[in-house]
């Protein structure tokens, strides 16, 4: 184990996987200079054939990722900010998500798209969208949302080895967060949730960037004897529904925390799954802590007001606990 920042963990994953598999090609805008640091050193290590700075043209870049993968390469495509994914959306939604399906499984599309997603750093509306609900709805795209450096590394390695298009979404501005990372090689498989903290009173499913505030909140409530079980799905496509339902069946209460806008958020989807499959166990309304249906404002005081906070999570938990069970 060693203490590392999330971005370092990602950087290690990229180095290790590109070392391991010479068929990997990585490209994107300024991957050589590396705005976030995740692709730092790769160009020097693996050379300009396998690590390529592209012009600014997301439509082409995303489509090239699909074409190169269809033609047999393992591809890592860096999209920088989640909001720029919209510019390359056709290739993602119409091609990457569908080409294997439309051709009856003739090919694999081993592509890892990397982007930061979400707000918190006053990057304003066009750099702060949490894009995972849009991606998850496309059907053919796996979506990975790590919450710690160790998971970031293990999940990124698993994503790269996966034979399907995967979006690896790093929580914006959280690249510097430190955590213990195992020294030996490891993978974190896609589709396995992690119980970050066990508890019997209420289940909190927290997605990606929301795991930290959820844990903070759980710690704070511990003092009052409230046991919060915090579940980190780690990947939302595929989703480890069993772990979530198991917890809800145990606690009977569910709060979902998601940095997405509320309408059609992943929080809504988890709530819907629980309201179908764990209905009989539910003892209180399912609450969502999400971003209201607006863009992300710039000024820190405004941005803080729309992003889910420890306080809002706490309030949701308390309201859930206050509900007197089945009426």
């Amino acid at each position: 184990m060693a203490r590392k920042r999330m971005i370092q963990a990602m950087n290690e994953a990229l180095h290790e996987e590109m070392e391991r598999d010479p068929s990997i090609v990585l490209f994107g805008e300024d991957v050589k200079a590396s705005l976030f640091g995740d692709t730092k050193g790769l160009w020097k290590r693996f050379g300009p054939e396998r690590v390529r700075d592209t012009p600014i043209c997301e439509t082409l870049i995303a489509g090239m990722a699909v074409g190169a993968a269809a033609a047999g390469r393992r591809v890592i495509c860096h999209m920088m900010f989640g909001n720029f994914v919209y510019t390359g959306m056709d290739a993602i939604a119409n091609q990457a998500a569908k080409l294997r399906f439309m051709t009856n499984g003739q090919i694999k599309l081993p592509i890892t798209f990397i982007a930061v997603s979400g707000g918190g750093r006053s990057a304003a509306a066009q750099h702060s969208d949490a894009i995972h609900p849009v991606l998850a709805n496309l059907g053919g795209i796996k979506v990975v949302m790590p919450s710690s450096p160790a998971d970031a590394k293990g999940l990124l390695k698993a994503a790269i080895r996966d034979d399907d298009p995967v979006f690896f979404l790093q929580a914006a501005g959280r690249g510097g967060e430190p955590g213990e990372v195992p020294a030996d090689e490891y993978l974190v498989p896609l589709g396995e949730a992690c119980v970050r903290r066990p508890g019997r009173d209420v289940t909190v499913v927290a997605i990606g960037s929301m795991v930290r505030p959820a844990l903070k909140c759980a710690e704070a409530l511990e003092g009052e004897g409230i046991e919060v079980e915090v579940i980190d799905p780690r990947t939302i496509v595929p989703l480890d529904l069993d772990t979530i339902l198991g917890s809800v069946r145990k606690t009977g209460r569910l709060v979902v925390v998601d940095e997405a806008r509320d309408t059609c958020s992943f929080a809504s989807h988890i709530a819907a799954l629980a309201a179908e499959h764990a209905f009989d166990a539910l003892r209180a309304p399912i609450r969502r802590v999400t971003v209201p249906d607006c863009a992300i404002p710039f000024a820190p005081v405004l941005e803080r007001a729309v992003l889910p906070s420890v306080e809002r999570i706490e309030e949701a938990i308390r309201r859930t606990l206050k509900h007197g069970g089945r009426s």
Binding site: A70, A71, R73, D90, Q95, L99, F101, T103, K142, P238
Partner: protein, 330 residues
């Protein structure tokens, strides 16, 4: 017609004749099928444009890549795709080349380097650039060819692909099939300037060619593919042709007014690339009418068998309708 194309061995010319004819007869079959209400979904036919797919694909083998368009049957067949399995696909059958999951707009066969038809206008351009990148990394001289229409040329992705392909010297051939229309819009109403010129600012050579002359297309593709294989980078070919059938079969049923002159259509029918190659063969005494007739019979036979195969193919099993979404499902 320049030296190289005119020196082609007659076997090569006959092979091109045969391939064009195969496309034509398959498409005419589909036209009849469509009129008979047998085809699910929209169908866009390639009739009259066969010289382009064939003139280009004669330079390619199975390991080269092509991407295509909504009007993709011709490219599929020119690249060596199986007509029987293509027809079965268009009929929506289980033994279709895509198991009935793709249909007319998505016929693909990766074993033949056919990345596939594409329902998104311009969508194939970026895919081909990616395949060209893979080919370049493979380093074994493969190339990628993107077929696309004049309408597609107005999608910005063409400029993006020209830029990157020029910078990286990708083995990419961009083949614009200018058939005079973008759906129901005459090209001039939606396209400023000449498409072939759009390559120049990027330092990419552009070749304009008569798309109804298979030898001229062959010649242009020869230059472009050789350039690509030699690591010298991309080429844009603009092949001028004409769509003699509708944009989509059955369009007369929903269009309230004609969007083009019937006389124009008729004039272009006289430029049909297939009789044109036949005339060339006769003029240069490279083939007898009987030889071509024999080819016609052979091709008609192939198509008849393909139709039989497709018609008798089973429907897909609805239990498998979710298909092969992921290669690594959990």
């Amino acid at each position: 017609m320049n030296a190289i194309a005119t020196n082609l061995p007659r076997e090569e010319l006959l092979a091109m004749y045969e391939r064009m004819l195969l496309i034509r007869l398959v498409e005419e079959q589909l036209a009849r099928d469509c009129a008979a209400g047998k085809l699910p979904g929209p169908v866009h036919l390639y009739v009259g444009e066969e010289a382009i797919a064939v003139g280009v694909c004669r330079h390619l083998d199975d390991r080269d890549w092509i991407t295509s368009t909504h009007r993709g049957h011709g490219h599929f067949l020119a690249k060596g795709g199986d007509p029987a399995r293509m027809l079965a696909e268009i009929y929506g059958r289980a033994s279709g080349i895509c198991g009935g999951f793709g249909g007319s707009m998505h016929v693909a066969d990766f074993s033949k380097g056919i990345i596939g038809a594409n329902g998104v206008v311009g969508g194939g351009i970026a895919l081909a650039a990616g395949a060209a990148l893979a080919a370049q990394l493979d380093g074994d001289g493969r190339v990628a060819v993107a077929f696309f229409g004049d309408g597609a040329a107005n999608q910005g992705v063409l400029a993006e692909a020209l830029n990157v392909a020029a910078l990286w010297k990708l083995p990419l051939v961009l083949v614009c099939e200018n058939n005079g229309f973008s759906e129901f819009s005459p090209t001039a109403t939606v396209t400023s300037g000449r498409i072939v010129e759009r390559a120049r600012p990027f330092g990419v050579p552009g070749i304009e060619v008569d798309g109804n002359d298979v030898l001229a297309v062959w010649q242009a593709a020869h230059v472009a593919v050789r350039r690509a294989r030699a690591g010298e980078g991309p080429t844009l070919i603009e092949a001028l042709t004409y769509r003699t059938r509708g944009h989509v079969e059955y369009e007369v049923t929903f269009l309230s007014e004609p969007y083009r002159d019937e006389a124009e259509v008729e004039a272009w029918k006289h430029k049909d690339p297939i009789p044109r190659l036949a005339s060339y063969l006769f003029e240069h005494e490279l083939a007898h009418p009987e030889e071509l007739h024999a080819i016609e019979e052979r091709v008609a036979q192939i198509v008849a068998e393909a139709v039989r195969f497709a018609e008798n193919a089973p429907e897909p099993d609805p239990a498998g309708a979710r298909g092969h979404m992921f290669a690594n499902p959990r």
